[in-house]
């Protein structure tokens, strides 16, 4: 039997046919490095490691490219850094947090028996590609500039929501969309935003004079573009990422390259939860073992 995978995009188990059997390409959303990885984070890492091993077996180890990113620029990281190292300049504190968390993540996944991915790009090494992509989106009318921000205009993409199978109305009702005065539409999402003094910042795209930083969703699109091309085979992640993150990735990449798909097969791992109780050292006998 040939490889069949359940595709979130079509909601069917489908025969896997790579675009190029000589270079099978897979992208998986990696960690945002600000905290310890929990079992919900580890699940996609382990599952896609098994898929990576299978693809290497089926197509040959040198014919598979597996990209898993490290997201090291994000407001959650900034908040954690400011809280953990209040006496350090913010950028230095951020480096401490991201380096420490990245090392912890690598130690964890090595202990879990996962092969290193072929490429492990870091978001901060791809800022230039992000600004290039944002310029392309503004030029084609898919994105617009407002008050130092660049926003993706969701209405410019008629089939937005295909992956999650939601209509625009459902998405507005279900998602915590941030209403901001500079948005043309509440569903529009941030590609680039201004940085306050002391916050991480880079030269802005789209003719914006003040420096800024990328929004969370834009980071994966240029990283997959750079390492896998405009269209590739498999995109994976946890089910919680389908909307809005993967939906927005698709919008960014497809609108940049005018392609019908970003990736042909979208795979998502289901949720995880832990019912076990932690046992604290020297606690009473009654709570010694996990109550399952």
């Amino acid at each position: 039997m040939a490889l069949r995978l359940y595709n979130t995009l079509t909601r069917k188990k489908e025969l896997f046919q790579p675009l190029d059997p000589g270079n099978v390409r897979m992208y998986v959303c990696g960690p945002t490095v600000y905290d310890f990885a929990h079992i919900g984070n580890a699940r996609p890492v382990i599952v896609f490691d098994v898929l990576f091993r299978l693809l290497r077996h089926l197509y040959g180890p040198e014919h598979v490219t597996y990209v898993r990113n490290i997201t090291d620029v994000d407001d959650k990281i900034n908040a954690r850094a400011a809280g953990e190292y209040p006496d350090l300049p913010l950028n230095e504190a951020i480096s401490r947090v991201t380096e420490k968390t990245e090392k912890q993540f690598h130690d964890d996944v090595a202990a879990l028996g996962c092969l290193p991915p072929t490429v492990e790009p870091r978001a901060t090494d791809h800022i230039a590609a992000m600004t290039v992509m944002i310029d392309m989106l503004v030029k084609s009318g898919a994105a617009y500039v407002a008050e130092g921000h660049v926003l993706f205009h969701v209405a410019a993409m008629p089939d937005y929501g295909k992956l999650s199978g939601r209509s625009l109305d459902e998405m507005i009702a279900g998602a915590r969309v941030e209403v901001a005065p500079y948005k043309r539409d509440p569903m529009d999402f941030v590609l680039w935003k201004p940085s306050k003094p002391g916050e991480p910042s880079w030269p802005s795209p789209a003719g914006i004079a003040a420096p800024g930083r990328p929004g969370w969703h834009i980071e994966c699109s240029p990283m997959s573009w750079k390492h896998l091309g405009e269209t590739f085979d498999i995109h994976g992640g946890g089910i919680d990422l389908v909307f809005p993150h993967h939906e927005n990735e698709i919008a960014q990449s497809r609108s940049s390259f005018h392609t019908p798909v970003m990736a042909n097969y979208w795979l998502h791992t289901a949720s995880s939860r832990s019912k076990g109780r932690r046992w604290r050292r020297a606690s009473a006998t009654s709570s010694l073992f996990m109550n399952c």
Partner: protein, 206 residues
């Protein structure tokens, strides 16, 4: 990766201190793969304990085994079916039952498992430098348990002691032996006549 409630057990915690143990990463990996990736996963102590027990049993059979050069077709077929890891694990159980250990080891290695017991030693986590803590842990764990669960915990203490002895940390190794004795478990060391390795047995004296 979003952090949400109920998802809170960290990998670091599992590897260092969860439910009184340092869990080997391979047991975590195996426990994760017991559930198909599109099914919600309940992470429980009993499931992880069972996962570790299965690997411990299999690895015990694989000590002198060399893996097959190729992996079993049935393994690939199950993975080809949308990564059907529960079916994969059934195949592994079957290989174990039939005594096809070379195929079992090849399959395990392919899936990211070492097949080596010294990689999956499960050590009770307690502060070995603190005499009171060792005593309390031994007494609490042994006192709270009965039957096979109690035997397993005793075996884990013996394992920890043997790891310490290999590291020539006799002070802390002896501390475990003495606390077990105080809890009524007497250890007996003997050399395996063929391998020359130290084998420890135990008996209950009260």
């Amino acid at each position: 990766m979003a952090k949400s409630l109920g998802n809170f057990v960290t990998i670091h915690e599992l590897l260092t201190d969860w439910g009184g143990y340092e869990w080997p990463g391979e047991a975590l990996r195996f426990n994760m793969l017991k559930t198909h990736y599109r099914q919600p996963l309940d992470w429980t102590y009993s499931s992880l304990d069972e996962a570790h027990g299965i690997l411990w049993d299999w690895y015990g059979e694989l000590k002198e085994v060399l893996p097959d050069q190729s992996i079993p077709d049935r393994l690939v077929e199950s993975l080809n079916d949308d990564l059907n890891t529960p079916a994969v694990i059934s195949t592994l159980h079957e290989l174990r039952r039939k005594g096809e250990f070379r195929a079992l080891l090849a399959a395990l290695n392919f899936l990211g498992f070492s097949g080596a017991r010294d990689k999956i030693e499960r050590l009770p986590n307690f502060n070995l430098d603190d005499e009171d803590a060792v005593g309390l842990t031994v007494r609490t764990m042994i006192g709270a348990l009965a039957g096979t669960a109690r035997e397993k915990v005793i075996e884990d203490f013996i394992l920890t002691r043997s790891v310490l002895r290999k590291k020539k940390d006799f002070v802390r190794a002896d501390r475990i032996r003495d606390e077990l004795a105080a809890a009524g478990i007497i250890l007996k060391d003997a050399k395996d006549p063929t391998t020359g390795e130290l084998v420890t047995t135990w008996e209950v004296v009260r």
